[in-house]
């Protein structure tokens, strides 16, 4: 590991530096895989190519960065997560067109089948997603980074552009409380 920030690595990737791309992939891949596993339906998790799917998506996405100017690492992570999510949805759509594969709702929410659903139930998962989307982008990144992707506070501070790990922790705590309030209010 070079110790360079992800944004610095990104700049080197733009300049055609393959080693920087490998390092960034190595940095993000394990967490993105884990995150994706939580979002995938059971049948897709059992596919051998899920890991390849995430890796392939990250590499491809890093090759298509024209016009994308992240101001901090969290934006880059969000970009990559979105890319992986899109790829999962493609996978589901394709599966839907093939006979013998579990049919998926049109809106591709993948409800009722992911580990998240199994852990908390589809209804709570829906409240979570809705609550999350109602938060500010900064709050969303704080929660996704800490809760879903397992960043420690030092990493999170770097990703969120916070001055210290303690500040990142405070951001997570505040975001969590706001999210819980959103979820409570959504329940009515």
């Amino acid at each position: 590991m070079s110790g360079e920030s992800s944004l610095e690595l990104l700049a080197r990737i733009r300049a055609g530096d393959g080693a920087a791309r490998d390092e960034l992939v190595a940095r993000y891949l394990p967490r993105l895989r884990r995150w994706a596993t939580g979002r995938l339906p059971a049948w897709a998790r059992e596919r051998d190519d899920t890991d390849d799917l995430v890796q392939d998506t990250v590499i491809r996405s890093l090759g298509k960065l024209e016009g994308f100017e992240p101001h901090h690492e969290a934006a880059l992570q969000a970009y990559l997560r979105q890319a992986v999510l899109n790829r999962i949805r493609d996978l589901v759509r394709r599966a839907q067109r093939q006979p013998g594969i579990v049919p998926i709702d049109e809106d591709m929410t993948l409800e009722g089948e992911s580990p998240l659903d199994e852990a908390i139930g589809a209804e709570a998962r829906a409240r979570y997603d809705a609550g999350l989307s109602a938060l500010s982008a900064a709050d969303q990144e704080a929660i996704i980074g800490r809760i879903e992707m397992g960043y420690d506070y030092g990493e999170l501070a770097a990703a969120l552009g916070k001055p210290s790990p303690a500040a990142a922790r405070m951001a997570v705590r505040r975001a969590l409380l706001r999210l819980a309030e959103e979820m409570r209010d959504a329940r009515g």
């Binding site: 420690d152 969590l176 819980a180 329940r187």
Partner: protein, 857 residues
């Protein structure tokens, strides 16, 4: 965020930091309905975080420690030498954490005071007060300190719920159950008052019922020394404060008794005798006589019980019980009379029912898991109605699992069948509301054809579990049933049939399904243990079953075989906690049979026990093994005490754990506690000669020689060739001055074992009987034969003491201490060295071996 309720803030912090949370603690928190809904959502978020952490590496906080230990409001990973593991509860006083104490090698509860409360000194004082009292129904304190400007107090971690929570969530108690709780509390208060202290804040929120059923009086924050009447500011909840304290703020033992009366009133009614939310409100209510009589609130309660409660909280001091002992006596009479009145097939009370649902088990061997879950399901379902006839009633409080029958026609399957019995017994033992007979006693009925009613009577149980296992080619079939002892009626039964290929895995999956179905009745700890066990590799499970079967024989060659199998099991599956725990016990047994030296066994058992506990903190066999090493090898009293307690907490029906703990408590000089533990062990294992010996030993150290003799005789009637039973009879007879009988008994033991210790004891008894020449001769033999080893020095000391040669005896004793013979650990209470006790040298030796109280000072 900053305006949020501190409970919510603590929960959010714990979720963010990935610390475990005891959600039950929020039940007692002061929260609005809105806040409670918020807590429900926080639980969802915690589940999510847990799920993600399981899928990947734990993120940790990534913060330098200095950043996270500075203020109470900040989450933290350490406090002083304690490692924070999670939050147990919060309140206006501060936060209670679950923490790991590396010095005690034990989990503890750490109470850290909120800043600016101004009661820091009181907490430090609380520690010093509590250190002066030791009682099973009083929380044990380990230490108090200041750290970074905060005051913290760490103590025994009690896993359970407060009486207040129980009443709120499960309904009120019946009279008998309330009386039993109060009996424990009167004993605790008697100890407190006897030490010249007062509690001053007895209330349902300050009393916990541990998962194993133990009642524990907590929180002496308001405690003060009782020098007559104490003139300190009134502390406590207005509803529990005695009326005389409102006139003049004085506390006395009788004001603690008043509070206990209110507690009793509360747990049987859910309400209080007066309605008040402030001291002045309480004052007005008392002045106007606005007391609701217990009879008016619960007309169904027995008159005697109502009278006891009314007298305990009588406004007039002259009418109130004067001492905790008086109240205890009244309660004890009520309980006995109630027992006679309602009989042994007593129906459950209103409050008993939900509590019986708490525990149900599944098992490593999935067969046992299925059976256990079935039995538990039966208990669960049938405990929901208290008006059933006895044959299907909730009144089942004790049972024995008889050895399952091997119907395979293949003796080679015996290990598997016995394994099912063993694991099922162990697992059922963790049901806190149930007394389960230890396997040793139940196994004595293996192959015995007796009416079940007779067996149940011999074991003193309400019901019998029996079953059979048939392993036939590709299939295995298990049948099981519960028989009611009094009526011989079959209460429940089921059978399970599966393919033998990959049996464990298949059945483990089914057990997990059943466990999930019954999730509501599983305790979190049980669930954790079950999951841990079910995840083990099938081959490792097979080796475990074979290993445990071989260990039953206590034969050294078979123990060696067991060791090999168990070592293979943990090598194949290093995460298999039960195999590690069993291996730890196996190592200690190998030391007892002389295969391993003490040093070898200590090292191996410690490692195995730690491996087990790192994966399953409730592996009780590992706690016992570790405690034995810490006590007998390392002489670390406090740490050993903590592990023995945790073992009993995890499995209260284990006679093995209670027997070992009794030995320890004897050595520590806590003779009443030791006898209590030994007798609980005897109750769980009524046909075990070994447990009767533990009771006999406890009686002997109390110099109750006749009772010790009787108990050792009972042991001999169960096992006529048990050498230690002859030794104990000899020691008791010698204590009674019956030298000839004592000599005959010890001679018998020596004939059986040729143990030099028995020879030395013969020398001592001869000397005590005045036969000094023969005693001298044996002493010379011991020395001349080069037996001056670890045990022999102690033997010499006993003989020399009996011969009146005090200086020589002290020198021999000092040598034994220097050699670190574990047998010297009982010198604090051993009557055989009474003549040396007052010498400074003896006291110095006592300091060298240490002790529980010494370590705590």
């Amino acid at each position: 965020m900053l305006e949020a309720n501190p409970v919510l803030v603590s929960l959010v912090e714990a979720i963010a930091d990935g610390l475990p949370i005891d959600w039950s603690s929020t039940d007692a928190a002061d929260l609005t309905p809105d806040d409670r809904r918020l807590v429900a959502e926080l639980r969802v978020l915690e589940s999510l975080h847990t799920l993600h952490r399981r899928q990947g590496a734990s993120p940790g906080t990534g913060l330098p420690q200095a950043d996270i230990t500075t203020t109470t409001a900040e989450p933290r990973s350490t406090w002083g030498h304690l490692q924070i593991k999670g939050i147990l509860g919060t309140g206006g006083f501060g936060v209670v954490f679950r923490a790991w104490d590396p010095r005690l090698a034990s989990e503890v509860a750490l109470k850290v005071l909120a800043r600016d409360t101004g009661i820091g000194e009181a907490v430090i004082a609380e520690a010093s007060l509590l250190a002066r009292v030791r009682h099973p129904n009083i929380v044990s304190i380990y230490g108090a300190d200041r750290h970074n400007g905060e005051v913290g107090l760490w103590m025994e971690l009690i896993r359970g719920r407060t009486l207040s929570e129980i009443v709120r969530t499960q309904g009120t108690f019946g009279a008998r159950e309330a009386a039993l709780v109060a009996l424990d509390l009167t004993r605790a208060l008697a100890t407190v008052h006897g030490a010249g202290l007062l509690h001053r804040d007895v209330k349902a929120q300050n009393v916990m019922r541990e998962e194993g059923g133990r009642i524990v009086l907590m929180d002496f924050g308001a405690g003060v020394e009782s020098t007559g009447a104490s003139r300190l500011k009134i502390v406590g909840t207005p509803l529990y404060i005695a009326p005389e304290q409102l006139d003049r703020p004085e506390s006395t033992p009788q004001s603690d008794i008043y509070s206990l009366g209110v507690l009793l009133y509360h747990i049987v009614t859910g309400s209080y005798p007066i309605a008040a939310d402030s001291l002045s409100g309480a004052e007005v209510a008392h002045r106007l006589g606005q007391r609701k009589r217990l009879r008016d609130v619960r007309p169904d309660l027995p008159t005697e019980f109502v009278q006891i409660v009314e007298r305990a909280m009588h406004p007039d001091l002259r009418e109130r019980y004067r001492t905790a002992g008086e109240l205890e006596s009244a309660l004890a009479h009520f309980v006995v009379r109630d027992e006679v009145r309602t009989g042994s097939t007593r129906r459950g009370t209103q409050a008993d029912e939900p509590r019986r649902r708490r525990a149900v088990i599944a098992w490593l061997a999935a067969v046992a898991a299925l059976v256990a879950a079935g039995i538990a399901a039966w208990l669960f379902l049938h405990s929901s109605n208290s008006i059933r006839p006895p044959t299907s009633a909730a009144g089942l409080q004790s049972l024995a699992v008889l050895p399952f029958t091997n119907n395979s026609g293949d003796p080679a399957q015996e290990y598997f069948v016995d394994g099912v019995t063993d694991l099922l017994t162990n697992r059922l033992s963790s049901i806190s509301s149930l007394r389960v007979i230890s396997r040793t006693s139940a196994m004595s009925f293996k192959g015995v054809n007796k009416p079940l009613a007779q067996i149940a009577a011999a074991l003193n149980v309400d019901a019998i579990v029996e079953g059979s296992v048939t392993r036939d080619g590709e299939r295995v079939r298990v049948t099981v049933q519960i028989i009611h002892a009094g009526t011989d009626v079959r209460l429940w039964g089921n059978s399970y049939e599966r393919e033998t290929t990959d049996t464990f895995r298949l059945q483990a999956e089914m057990a997990r399904t059943i466990a999930n179905e019954l999730r509501a009745v599983f305790t979190e700890r049980t669930q954790r243990s079950v999951n841990q066990t079910l995840d083990a590799k099938p081959q490792a499970q097979e080796w475990l079953l074979r290993g445990r079967y071989l260990m039953d024989s206590r034969n050294r060659d078979r123990l060696k075989e067991a060791r090999t199998l168990l070592e293979r099991a943990v090598e194949l599956d290093p995460n298999f906690a039960l195999a590690w725990a069993t291996l730890a016990r196996c190592y200690t047994m190998l030391e007892n049979t002389g295969v391993l030296t003490s040093a070898e066994a200590a090292s191996l058992a410690t490692r195995a026990a730690n491996e087990a506990l790192s994966r399953d903190p409730d592996a009780f066999e590992a706690h016992v093994a570790l405690a034995d090493v810490l006590f007998k090898f390392d002489w670390k009293w406090v740490e050993a005490d903590a592990h023995y307690r945790q073992a009993i907490d995890a499995n209260g029906s284990s006679s093995f754990a209670r027997g070992q703990y009794a030995q320890f408590l004897n050595a520590a000089g806590l003779l009443d506690d030791a006898e209590r533990q030994a007798r609980r062990g005897e109750l769980a294992d009524p046909l075990s000669a070994g447990m009767k010996i533990e009771v006999a030993v406890a009686l002997y150290y109390q110099k109750r020689y006749q009772q010790a003799l009787d108990k050792a005789s009972e042991a001999l009637s169960l096992d006529p060739n048990l050498p230690i039973a002859h030794v104990m009879r000899a020691r008791a007879l010698s204590g009674l001055g019956r030298g000839d009988g004592a000599i005959a008994e010890i001679q018998r033991s020596y004939d059986l074992t040729k143990d030099p210790a028995a020879l030395a004891e013969l020398g001592r008894i001869l000397a005590a009987a005045g036969r000094t020449g023969e005693a001298e001769s044996i002493l010379s033999r011991i020395t001349a034969a080069g037996l001056d080893g670890v045990g022999a020095s102690l033997g010499e000391a006993y003989i020399e003491a009996a011969l009146g040669r005090r200086q020589e005896a002290i020198a021999s004793l000092a040598r034994a201490v220097q050699q670190r013979s574990s047998r010297v650990l009982w010198m604090r209470v051993d009557p055989r060295v009474d003549s040396l006790r007052t010498t400074p040298e003896f006291q110095n030796l006592l300091r060298q071996i240490g002790g529980l109280e010494a370590a705590r000072r």
